[in-house]
Amino acid sequence: MSLDFEPVRGEPDPSTLAAGQVRNWLAEVDEAVGRLFVAGLAHPPQDLGPTFELLAHRAATLGAPTAQQGLDRLAHQIESLSPGPPDREQRRVLADAALTEVMGFLTWLRLFRGQVDLQEAGAAAEVEAERDDVPRYTGRMQVLGLYLDGDRLVIVGRDEAGQPLHAVDPLADVDPLDPCGSVVISRLLQRPLALLDLLDGQLEFEGHPFGQARHGRLLKPAFRAVPTLRPHTASYQGPDRLVVRWSDGVRLSDPQVVVRPLLEFNLCKLLCHEPGTAALDVTLQVGRTETRLLRAESALGPLVPAVDARCWAVHPTQLEGWLAEADDWTRAAASLYGGLQPAPAGTDWRFQWLRTQRGERAEPSDAPLGKGIDAFDHVWRRYVLQGSLKRSLLEGRLSTTTLGSDPDPFEVCARALVLHLADPEAARIYLSAHLETVSIDADVLVWMVFAETRMRVLEQPYGLDLPVHPQRMRWAHRLRAWRAGEAAEGLGDILAWGATSGWAETVVTPL
């Protein structure tokens, strides 16, 4: 059924009207109609009929024939009612007919008034070209390399004349510890993007606004201008590209490159493959205060070792051995976990985690936790975690016999895992007895076990987004559900993981 509603005769057509006069005419029509409804259609004032006639005449003069016809009919009906028939029923019939007429006219008037308003607003002169005094860049940018500043990606490149260009891109949906391992959402390109694609391409800008920064022109995401990424096979051969030698994390050749934790860890892995001194063909950005490593060339193509945790993969067996033998394996772990998240002194969770691992009780900070937890899908982190936990168990720190009266939640979970191997029911009873005391807000390690478990069981990253309040609520819901004997989603997975993981080899004294 159509509800197109057209109770009016004729289309509103204000195109021929003179706006100023129309406003006066509309005001007078409003006033006359108002008087009609104050007095009542059955008893209209005697002067209203001529008034409507006059208004109809003016409508004709203004060039609104529809209004003229409507007002003429209205005037006729009003006049038939003043003084009108003395019979009450006849008067009622006439008044109802006039009501229908006036309502139809008012509906037309409603549309007409809107049209007049719109026409007045649109009657202004044509718009001139928009003022634009913003400097804009049109051209190509060959990408030399990239680095991350928090969640902001900085793309370093040069224009066709070899002049430096920088682009800043606040990324979304980025795994801060493994940004190259998945697709991120680029605000600059306004689309999803694999970061490594940037290394193989060049950006084409058209009318993109830019500002001046220390290193040269700086381009930011713009509202309208969106650069295009095109493949570009020719590698950069400018003065910023040179070979740097590394040995045990110590630079052998100038310039002094700033080595942040992730780069350090990648270099450690590189040195696993190339004992002694490793040579690296890199592109650098030499600044006034620091020199950054933007990219490294390899047989497989360009790498971003300062950003990509997957550079120079080490075989799991090799890494396990390395972790077992390394005096300072925690440094490697810290490199992995710390990755790209600089945190103010005293709030960096990885160090607190390490202290906990060493048996130093420390209240973990939960501020940067979520980002760390989210990144558990990376194989190296899994090995490091597993290795570190194994070591803790072997060293007896997590043994049930050493558990204190106020156990660490991580210890509770870890112990439950081990218990599960021998007696799942005992593990269940143990967990339900102890997790009552768990302070979810302050517990980093439970989450680590939890996230790892999800990874092992489901073979997919679990989108934890800790430590904001709703996630904790979700965790609390799962705890309650698990205690109520529902499916093993969440905490129950911890037990499942215990059965499937390599922890079976770990010998710990059961309860």
Binding site: M1, L3, F5, E6, P7, V8, D30, V33, G34, R35, F37, V38, G40, L41, A42, H43, R92, A95, D96, L99, M103, L106, T107, R110, L111, G114, Q115, D117, L118, E120, A121, G122, A123, A124, A125, E126, V127, E128, A129, E130, R131, R152, A172, D173, I185, S186, R187, Q190, R191, P192, P209, K220, P221, A222, F223, D465, H469, P470, Q471, M473
Partner: protein
């Protein structure tokens, strides 16, 4: 022809009663005129509100409420009484009644036409496919019925959506800003502020016919690619274009049209607090130097919005190239801004944290904290 169920028959009967009774009362109001009305007319109109309610005629019910108030103002010799308002409400009621009659004659049900006749409670339908949306603007509001809330206006595909978060004033106060950092629900970590500044894919969303999105336990929110092009359909470079955007909204039922648009003013001037009209006003001019009136009602929940507008007039460096808000035509174009939209990302300092944003929601965020 299929036989109607007993509740459906009862609904049809109530609809028929409501239409017939409403027609009688409207005719009598028109015939008698305001001068012959007594308090009994107000009582009758209030009773008609209930009749329309029973008939499922939501918009008519609300129009009768307004009509009763207007008649009461007349009888009380209230200076707020305006004959034009009375006539307008009478006409609107007449139009809604005409639509209701057509629905009844066609054997339909008012709930099948929520856009024309209104509905009591929206029905939300689960979406099977993920819905990708991007925030266009956000507003804060307080209702007379005691709710404070934020509505985020979103664009996805060819449609505009709204996602609102409302809380009782009794528990949350009457400042919409206090809701800004709340999570969308207890199951989600995404806050309203997050949603109001970016693009997201909503999984397992529920949607009402008018584009309102329900925030339920199943909803999952993931980041998506942001695009400046989402504003294309509602952008007006001049006030002439703005008027054209409104033209399609002009219908007999709704009268004065309004819609959300993105305006690109070239000049700002004349910020005035008009206490007589309870409005904060300023003038925006397009490239052809045509003026457009910005009007913001002086209400407590608009305090930050008004402060922000004042700052934008005073400090050209803070002015955005575009403003997103509601444009309506009422004796000329009137604009109520919701959001300042910047061409390049700016840093918004907010309680010790900073966000890179393209938008500042003027009723919810302090434009002075932009860096």
């Amino acid at each position: 022809m299929t036989e109607l169920s007993r509740p459906a028959v009862a609904r049809r009967e109530r609809l028929a009663d409501a239409v017939e009774l409403s027609e009688q009362v409207l005719s009598r109001l028109g015939r008698q005129g305001l001068t012959r009305l007594s308090r009994a007319a107000v009582v009758e109109l209030r009773a008609l509100v209930q009749t329309a309610h029973n008939g499922g005629l939501v918009k008519l019910e609300r129009t009768f409420e307004g009509l009763a108030t207007t008649v009461e103002h007349y009888l009380d010799r209230d200076p707020n009484f305006r004959p034009e308002r009375y006539v307008d409400r009478l006409n609107r009621a007449w139009l809604l009644l005409e639509v209701a009659r057509r629905v009844h004659e066609a054997g339909g049900d008012p709930s099948d036409h929520p856009e024309a006749l209104g509905e009591y409670r929206r029905t939300y339908v689960p979406l099977e496919a993920p819905l990708t949306v991007q925030a266009l603007g956000a507003s804060g509001w307080v209702t007379d019925s005691g709710f404070v809330g934020i509505t985020v206006h979103l664009r996805g595909g060819e449609r505009t959506y709204q996602l609102s978060n409302a809380r009782p004033v009794d528990y949350f106060g009457s400042d919409p800003q206090r809701l800004l950092r709340m999570p969308l629900s207890e199951y989600l970590s995404t806050t309203i502020q997050d949603l109001a500044h970016g693009a997201f894919t909503l999984h397992r969303a529920k949607l009402a016919w008018d584009g309102r999105i329900s925030v339920g336990a199943e909803l999952d929110v993931r980041p998506a690619a942001w695009s400046g092009a989402v504003y294309d359909d509602c952008t007006a470079r001049s006030w002439r274009e703005a008027a054209e955007l409104l033209r399609s909204q002009l219908t007999p039922l709704e009268g004065a049209p309004s819609r959300l648009v993105l305006l690109t003013p070239q000049r700002w001037s004349g910020f005035v607090i008009d206490e007589k009209r309870s409005l904060a006003t300023l003038t925006l001019r397009d490239a052809a130097d045509v003026a457009l009136a910005v009007e913001v009602p002086l209400r407590p929940e608009n305090n930050l919005l008004i402060d922000n507008l004042q700052q934008l007039v005073r400090m050209p460096s803070l002015r955005p190239p575009a403003l997103y808000g509601r444009l309506r035509v009422e004796g000329g174009l009137r604009f109520e801004p919701l959001t300042a939209v910047y061409g390049e990302q700016r840093t918004l300092q907010d309680r010790g944290s900073s966000h890179s944003v393209n938008e500042v929601h003027l009723a919810l965020e302090d434009v002075g904290s932009l860096r």
